[in-house]
Amino acid sequence: MTSWLDYTINGLIVGNVYALVAVGLALIFGVSRLINFAQGSIYLVGAYIGWVAVVELRTPLFITILLVAAASALVGLIIERFGLRPLQNSVRIAPLLATIGISFVLDQIVMLTFSPNPRALPSQLPDIRFQIGGGTIGSLDILIACVGITSALLLFLFLRYSKLGWAIRATAQDRDAAMQMGVDVNRVNQAVFGIAAALGGLSGMLVGMYYNQIDTAMSLQATLKGVVAEVAGGAGNVPGAIAGGLLLGLVESYGVAIFGTSYRNLFAFLLLILVLFLRPNGLFARARQAPPEPLTGTFIAPSRPIRTPRWALVTAFAVFALLPFLPVSSYVLQTLINAWLFAMLALSLTLVAGTLGQVSLGHAALLAIGAYTSALLSLDLSVPVGMAIIGGGLVSAALGTLLISPSFRLRGHYVSIATLAIGEIVSLVILNWEPVTRGPIGISGIPPLSLFGVELVSAASVYWFSFAVMVLLALLQVRLLGSHIGRSFRAIRDDDVAARAYGLSLNRYKALAFIFGGFAAGVSGGIAAHLYSYINHETFNTQQSILALTIVILGGLGNVAGAIVGSVALVGLPEVFRIAAEYRILIYGIALLLLVRFRPQGLLGTI
């Protein structure tokens, strides 16, 4: 029985940490309706600045805290001023993407400056421990709790009783009204980002000390868990964020207690999904709030798409189709094979995120489902490879749609969070469902690509196969876009309220989009499985989902030709720039930022 006390205390201790990150996220969301995907990066920056302070400068604890808070706040201010403020009047998707780009840039800067090796961050507190239940809590636990509670309390008082606090709350409720009342909204945003960043950086430092370890991989985990905690507590709700963090810690702890350690993250994301579907306003929100005033702004950038002339398309097709006949190395062909496979994913995502407006951040999960299905069909059931790949596509379409369907009732950023969580869940299920997926061992010995009994051995034959499949899917998608369904997708994207008013069932059309897109992605995954001959739960990951999203934005949301062009560019160019390998991700993050800032409708325009 004492074990349950221990699990509870452990859950609260870890939850404490999550709460700190979540508070920063809640502050920012409250004011600018923005999920700051870069919060984890600020957390990382804080940890490393803390390291510099403690190890290099040897400052006493009090100074270290001030230094980290100040430096992190500065980073936050810079992000707000130069990364986000220019996007104020841009479409709502732009800041979301900008924070993703910023997180890449910050993470890479830290990694290039400090090297990827983990480092020790010694705690500057005396190591006194108190016995509680079967375990102990230490001075650092208490400090973290104090920081969490104090900052929440201070924030609460600040927001309630100070002039700037009132300004912040007013802006959160109704930005335009606040502006008209003379509130300097820009100053408010700056203040909020500064505070949230200071908190984020400080929590990074404290957590680093707590575990005596910091490394550049901390960033993504912090963001993910912070988002879960924040959404659970109610997006924008600061006290709720603390409660959400503690709740998350407890859920994880109990999940480990009952099911085992490998299920920990699964429980975290399941909590998120449950909250999103049952109480999207958070567990602590009052039910049935006033529905928001219908917005006139659209989520997507209005644009005039560049109509690629027929002759250009035909020429491009001919060039790429005939490429293997030219004396190009198999390296070039392989790179293009990768590009075609990615293009299929991009086609799928541009349909779902571009044409339909459901910005999915977990699309790689569809690749994984298709890959595993195809691999298992051909290995366990001896299905011919061609059929297995189609099977992969069909299962991905069905299962993917089914998994994502509860998110159909969500709007805006919540769709992205839900799909991100679903993507992580699929990966974790694959890891844990050993009887079927072989768990962490993965599936090896997957039969190579073959068509009608003929094995596709040379790079050229694989190239033609993947090119042909991609072109076929692209043509089907173009046909779909030209039909009433394409029209319906775009109407739902532009204004789902008006769409419903005219008889368009959102569930029906969202499902159709994911079915079609799921098929395309599943086929891509299936082909990849047979190409790689070995897959495991890490082969198709969140990073690929984000790469696919960047490709889609680069090419133009909903733009089929754009998705293909974007794939060739973003898969091909890094190969060209292999010399700058260390800077690749940094360049990539900067490219995303520039794109979002200066051409959110993409190269070829949104359709």
Binding site: S3, V14, R119, G138, Q334, Y532, N536
Partner: protein
């Protein structure tokens, strides 16, 4: 005008030019280095290991060149960043096989990245020499797949012997990374321990990003083990050890060789005192090849102590050199040379010879260490 008419002049000049070109090419070839291709992570989540590879490679190269290189030619490597991502390792594989200068490939770091590229290397006939990818099926990819990564089938029984027979632990709690390496290792360990009369009372797998093990450790505590077995890398190993002590677990901790790194001591601090580990070598190892490696490493890298990954890459480069000396510059001959090398001096295996059937090196050196006063020392056989 002399007797040389224009035609002769032209012909003569052409001949001269061609001869000069051929001569200079022959000259260049013999002074051009023998090129290896390395596919591994320079950026991304495993970037730290790529950096450690380079340290090992470069140290080995210094020694190889000091000893005359490969039949007089220098040896060099082209490191392409795969980020341990199968998509990229596959593209890199195509690049390497198309490049006639590359005679052998080393890498990749992870199993998915390595095995995805195997079909390409096999079909093109370029040796893919793995040295940290531990998936048991790796060498089944074809007869061009060779590996010096220690098979867990060899390593885990050694660890089991240390924990069960030598340390006397009977009820074991096993914490392992939930990767293919971690799982395979765990399965071999459990079997070996069972054969020696011990029991695995609980086995918990965790993902690499995990930081907080406290609840896991409560589960462990409730299973009543007398020893904790860590199948971890150094950063997670350090975290677990720290948190185990913080929650009050006093059981003996015995870890796999993958924690062997000065980083383990740095990150673990006092908590890793008295942690036992089985390794392939240790700082005061009297073996001459180890002395050479450790002192060379410290000299080259500012007094830094080498770790397990440095040793793997150092050995791999030395093995590659040994193979190249026999196999020359022809890719097929190089493949055949793997079967011919005998007793190559390595840190990990001592004298290493490939088992042609499995294309791996069997057996591994074993040292039983314990952390005392913040240092890795040979275990003196006394209980903790």
């Amino acid at each position: 005008m002399s007797n040389i008419d224009r035609r002769t002049l032209v012909k003569g000049s052409l001949a001269a030019i061609v001869t000069a070109a051929a001569a200079s090419r022959a000259l260049a070839q013999s002074s051009e280095p023998v090129m290896l291709g390395v596919s591994g992570p320079l950026t991304g989540p495993n970037a730290q290991y790529g950096a450690q590879w380079k340290q090992g490679f470069d140290l080995a190269l210094d020694e190889i060149h000091a000893a005359g290189g490969i039949n007089g030619r220098k040896l060099a490597y082209a490191f392409e960043d795969s980020q341990s991502d199968p998509r990229q390792s596959v593209a890199i594989a195509q690049k390497f096989v198309s490049d006639p200068r590359i005679v052998m490939e080393l890498g990749d770091f992870s199993s998915p990245a390595s095995m995805a590229a195997s079909p390409i290397y096999q079909r093109a006939g370029l040796v893919q020499f793995g040295f940290t990818n531990s998936h048991p099926d790796f060498t089944k990819g074809g007869d061009f797949m060779w590996s010096t990564s220690v098979s867990q089938a060899d390593e885990q029984p050694l660890l089991a012997r240390y924990a069960v027979s030598h340390l006397g632990l009977k009820k074991l709690a096993i914490l392992h990374l939930n990767t293919d390496w971690g799982r395979t290792s765990r399965d071999y360990f459990v079997k070996a321990a069972k054969d020696l009369g011990a029991e695995a009372v609980i086995a918990e797998g965790y993902i690499a990003e995990e930081r907080d093990f406290r609840s896991t450790l409560v589960r462990v505590r409730d299973a009543n083990p007398d020893g904790l077995i860590l199948i971890s890398y150094y950063s997670d190993g350090a975290l677990i050890a720290r948190q185990a002590r913080q929650v009050g677990l006093k059981q003996t901790i015995c870890a796999a060789s993958s924690v062997y790194s000065p980083k383990f001591l740095e990150l673990g601090g006092e908590a890793v005192e008295d942690v036992h580990l089985g390794t392939r070598y240790f700082p005061d190892d009297p073996r001459p090849e180890v002395r050479k490696f450790v002192s060379g490493f410290k000299a080259k890298y500012n007094g830094q102590e080498p770790d397990a990954f440095n040793a793997y890459s150092y050995d791999a480069m030395n093995m590659a050199a040994a193979v190249l000396k026999i196999g020359g510059a022809d890719r097929r001959a190089i493949r055949d040379a793997f079967a011919k090398v005998r007793d190559v001096s390595t840190v990990i295996f001592g004298p290493a010879t490939f088992d042609v059937e499995s294309r791996r090196v069997k057996g591994a050196m074993n040292a039983e260490l314990v952390v005392r006063k913040g240092q890795f020392t040979l275990w003196d056989g006394k209980p903790t």
